[in-house]
Amino acid sequence: MNEPVSSIRINVRLFARLKDIVGTGELARQAPTRATARTVWDTLVSEFAELRDYEASISVAVNEEYSRMDAPVADGDEVAFLPPVSGG
């Protein structure tokens, strides 16, 4: 295996303008075993600087449930970052 033993794989979902910034709504990223949703977000921000504008306004969902940025994430989890919503 090429990947470090201490790494997990996270399926990331992005929506609306976050998706436009990154260029896709679905991607995968590696994270340390004790990662939180914030760890995953910070990884994305390091790659896509424009995401930083959403630092204070995003919501996060883990495995299709609303969660918190400090929630731990596990290998294979789906972590979705949601810009401010505008349904209705």
Binding site: A16, R17, S59, A61, E64, A80, S86, G87, G88
Partner: protein, 173 residues
């Protein structure tokens, strides 16, 4: 379309690219398959239909494209339904459309049935406020000269202040 009609007929919550039909929601909130025959039925049904407008913030809108995180949206619909049932004597339905919508088309429909019309009105109003606060759906607005993602509220279902705002609007208290 004909295939999913029977299922749609009883769906209290739906996220769909199909045209919305208010009769479907009203059927869903008035038919009570599990209720005993002597149950008192609803005295009133209040509904709300959101329509795509041709103007927003001074821009001439051409169309909207709605995107959603469907499985989470459905769970949030159920959560909002549970919030209304906790508070009012009411049975509710909530359908939201996704995809491309033209001016004048319905983006969201809500129905609330209750023995008490005050409950039906309050629940219906509460639901549209909560939809705008916490449902993971986004409007992509295409207007004359450009396009923009509309960003409203940071979604946080546990934000009690937001929930209280919705309650205040719904009950006028």
């Amino acid at each position: 379309m004909s295939d999913n009609r029977p299922a749609m007929h009883t769906a209290l919550y739906a996220v769909t690219t199909d045209t919305l039909h208010l009769e479907t929601l009203i059927s869903a909130v008035t038919s009570m398959p599990d209720a005993p025959l002597d149950t008192v039925g609803p005295g009133g049904i209040t509904s709300f239909v959101g329509i795509v407008r041709n103007e927003n913030a001074g821009r001439r809108v051409l169309r909207l494209e709605y995107e959603g995180y469907e499985p989470l949206a459905l769970r949030v619909f159920e959560r909002i339904g549970a919030e209304t049932a906790d508070r009012w004597d009411v049975r509710v339905a909530l359908h939201h459309r996704l995809g491309t919508l033209q001016i004048g088309e319905a983006s969201v429909m809500i129905a609330a049935a209750s023995p008490h019309r005050a409950d039906a009105f309050a629940a219906c109003r509460y639901i549209i406020e909560r939809v705008k606060q916490i449902v993971p759906i986004w409007k992509h607005e295409f207007f004359e000269g450009g396009d923009v993602w509309i960003e409203g509220a940071t979604a946080d279902p546990d934000d009690d202040a937001a929930r209280q705002d919705a309650l205040r609007v719904a009950t006028g208290e």
